[in-house]
């Protein structure tokens, strides 16, 4: 069974999240084990890092996050978040959370939603108003602040959810599939926001199945597969390929390429495998350039 006895005791201050043998088994009505969603997860997230939780659908990413914010109860093992049990109420004042879905009260405006959540943190009214204004502007929702949330698009809801996760200026921000529903511009904004948060020294745990996003923003990642930890480490270390070397230069003519291949065969033997090609721009960069050009054209 899950241990409720002060799991934060003995956890170093710089470890904002620590799990030991965290296991979650979902049971049916009769108590029979149906799915082992998480199986003995050991994880440590240090202060100030952006940590990515990666894995295919059903690998246990969301289950891990829900266990860490106290929405689910662990079957066994223990977890410590901000040095306290995940269900500790007081420590939630230092936590920001963006759930996978954004189920807000549809009849409240964006402004009211943010101020309602600020009240839950007992943030004084004047400070709440300042933060609300700043966050709505930062998320590009300033013009929609008086619109009811029920009229928002999915992307706008994600932006509002992100604003809510930051209303208390948290030490630890847990984001479940943060870029889901965002357009490429929104995704770019989100990545910029993460960079800012990193600079401010905040710790971020995010789950995603979009590997490109995680690669760009995360310091360290963990890969989950069927509830087990498959790999964990720094992104650069995990992606390093010891067996290959890549050389990138200006565009070369065919004769120079032939000469280079001949040189390599002479030095390393005729069996060496050489691939030559033209690197293509990433679709995201292409999209952003195209949209920027179109926007500039419209403006002029």
């Amino acid at each position: 069974m899950e241990s409720l006895a002060a799991p934060g005791v003995g956890v170093p201050e710089d470890l904002l999240v620590r799990t030991r043998g965290l296991t979650k088994v979902f049971r049916d009505f009769w108590g029979r084990a149906r799915v082992r969603a998480l199986d003995g997860l050991d994880l440590e997230i240090e202060r100030g890092e952006v940590f990515g939780l990666l894995g295919p659908n059903g690998s246990g990413k969301s289950t891990t996050i829900k266990l860490l914010v106290g929405l689910l109860h662990a079957t066994s093992g223990e977890a410590s978040v901000l040095g306290a049990h995940p269900r500790d109420v007081a420590s939630k004042a230092r936590l920001g959370f963006l759930p996978e879905e954004s189920p807000f009260h549809p009849h409240l405006t964006a402004d009211e939603t943010l101020r309602f959540h600020a009240s839950l943190f007992s943030i004084p009214g004047r400070v709440a108003r300042q933060r609300t204004d700043a966050l709505l502007a930062r998320m590009g929702l300033a013009r929609d602040r008086k619109r009811r949330v029920g009229e928002f698009s999915k992307g706008m809801l994600r932006r509002l959810g992100m604003a809510l996760a930051l209303i208390n200026e948290p030490e630890l921000i847990i984001l479940d599939e943060p870029t889901s529903g965002l357009d490429p511009l929104g995704t770019r904004d989100f990545k910029d926001l993460l960079s800012e948060l990193r600079k401010e020294g905040r710790t971020v745990l995010l789950s995603s199945h979009l590997l490109g996003d995680a690669e760009e923003v995360c310091d360290r990642v963990a890969v989950l597969d069927r509830g087990r930890l498959a790999a964990v480490g720094r992104v650069s270390t995990l992606l390093e390929d010891d067996g290959r070397t890549q050389i990138v230069t200006e565009k070369l003519d065919p004769a120079t390429i032939e000469a280079l291949i001949a040189f390599l065969r002479e030095r390393k033997g005729p069996g060496i495998r050489v691939e030559v090609g033209t690197p293509s721009a990433r679709l995201e960069a292409f999209f952003l350039r195209t949209v920027a050009r179109a926007t500039d054209g419209a403006a002029s």
Partner: protein
């Protein structure tokens, strides 16, 4: 506290902006404003006013109670189902604060709706009273029996001696040994019988009303009573005469028309007869010899004026609101335990049973004291006994019926209200909310699993 208020305000705003809520409020307002115009009662001013209160307030209060069942049952269960509670539960807010906020929001909404209904009915009553000004007897009747709330004070029972009780028990046991059903012990039956005032022809009995309190000078005290006679077959119409000593004046004598046994009758006596909080009257039997009159203290009550109509309305408002608070707490508990449909059914069931508990209690008592020896009879007795236990365990929503009391011109004593609110609203509400907090604390909010 800020979080509790925020959750309450959020619920209030969210509900008020729903189209369904708007339609409900419009229907309710239209009903409360229009219905009294269509009510005539028996044609007199008093009966028109009574009908205005009974239906103009009674039916909307029932509708608000049902709305409270839906709203409170869904406040937690629907937020869980739609995952809205996750956003609150992952903030530094205890489960108890969440529930307190929801309860406060629902009660605030109920108070606004109830206030509007009571105000609309009050306006109708005030206008109805004003329209009738100058209509003499009708207005006086309305003033005496509707606008002046009266408290009921039962006559003090006669205290039998132990010897009287012993003799009656012996005679009952000898005569009725084979026929006694055992529903009431013989001694209790004997004491109950001997507590009645027994008036032989030509004699009198003192009927005392204690705890009358201060009565406004110049006001009238109504005395309602019903008489019985022995032997019943020869009773016909029972004559009687009431007398009272008046300090420094001629004794008061009232000889109402004779009526058959058990028929309620009424006399009016001046409030000045009350001395030291006690009203003393004498009941004389002018009946022919051989007919004994019995006056059951439980069927004799004095009705002194207590408070005013509007104060009574205010106390009634508090009594109804207290009932709605408990209903909302039960809905929140049900919503913490079950999904929305089950929670609605659960809370609705408790409300229906609680509202009909007086009637159900009588039915169960009658069945549980049956004498049949067949299997269905035995089964009926067992089920009735279980029913009585369930009724005792569930809140009694019919304990104080404020609308009926206001309509009947009966005062709702503040002490009675406070006692009723403490035991039948505050305590069960606290227990229900505490239990709901415990449930929500142990329950997984994401998938409804349990620790």
């Amino acid at each position: 506290m800020r979080a509790v208020l925020a959750i309450a305000w959020n619920l209030l705003v969210e509900t008020a902006r729903k189209r369904s809520a708007l339609v409900f409020i419009l229907l309710l307002s239209g009903f409360a404003i229009a219905l009294p115009f269509a009510l005539e009662g028996e044609g007199t001013l008093r009966s028109r006013l009574q009908a205005t209160v009974t239906y103009g307030a009674g039916l909307p209060v029932f509708a608000i109670s049902l709305a409270t069942v839906f709203l409170s049952s869904g406040a937690i269960s629907l937020d869980l189902q739609r995952r809205r509670l996750h956003g609150i539960a992952t903030k530094p807010v205890t489960r108890l604060s969440i529930l307190a906020g929801k309860l406060l929001g629902i009660v605030a909404l109920d108070a606004v709706l109830l206030g509007a209904i009571f105000a609309a009915v009050g306006a109708h009553v005030a206008l109805g009273g004003a329209r009738a000004r100058g209509e003499g007897d009708e207005l006086r009747e309305a003033e005496d029996r509707f606008f002046q709330p009266r408290r009921a004070v039962h006559a003090a029972p006669r205290t039998p001696t132990d010897e009287e009780v012993r003799r009656l028990v012996e005679s009952l046991a000898a005569v009725d040994a084979h026929d006694h059903r055992g529903a009431i012990p013989i001694e209790t039956a004997a004491r109950r019988s001997l507590s009645m005032h027994r008036i032989e022809p030509g004699s009198t009995a003192e009927i005392r009303f204690e705890g009358m309190g201060p009565c406004p000078p110049g006001s009238l005290i109504f005395v309602r009573y019903a008489l019985f006679a022995s032997p019943p077959a020869e009773a016909g119409r029972i004559p009687c005469e009431w007398t009272a000593a008046v300090r420094g004046g001629e004794a008061l004598r009232i000889a109402p028309p004779a009526e058959p046994p058990g028929i309620p009758r009424e006399i009016a006596v001046p409030a000045e007869l009350v001395e030291g909080g006690v009203l003393r009257l004498s009941l004389e039997s002018p009946a022919r010899s051989g007919l004994t009159i019995f006056a059951d203290p439980e069927r004799i009550e004095a009705l002194p004026v207590e408070g005013g109509f509007w104060r009574n309305g205010g106390v009634g408002f508090a009594a109804v609101l207290g009932r709605l608070v408990l209903l909302a707490a039960l809905g929140l508990l049900a919503g913490s335990l079950f999904g929305f449909p089950t929670a609605c059914l659960f809370t609705g069931f408790i409300y229906c049973v609680g509202a009909g508990s007086s009637f159900l209690g009588e039915v169960f008592t009658e069945y549980s004291s049956g004498v049949g020896s067949t299997l269905p009879d035995a089964l009926g007795r067992v089920l009735s006994s279980v029913g009585l236990v369930v009724l005792d365990a569930l809140p009694n929503f019919a304990g104080i019926d404020p609308i009926e009391k206001i309509s009947d011109g009966r005062a709702i004593p503040l002490a009675e209200l406070v006692q009723a609110l403490a035991w039948t609203a505050c305590l069960p509400t606290a227990l229900a909310i505490g239990a709901a907090a415990l449930v929500l604390g142990r329950r997984e909010l994401e998938r409804g699993g349990w620790e």
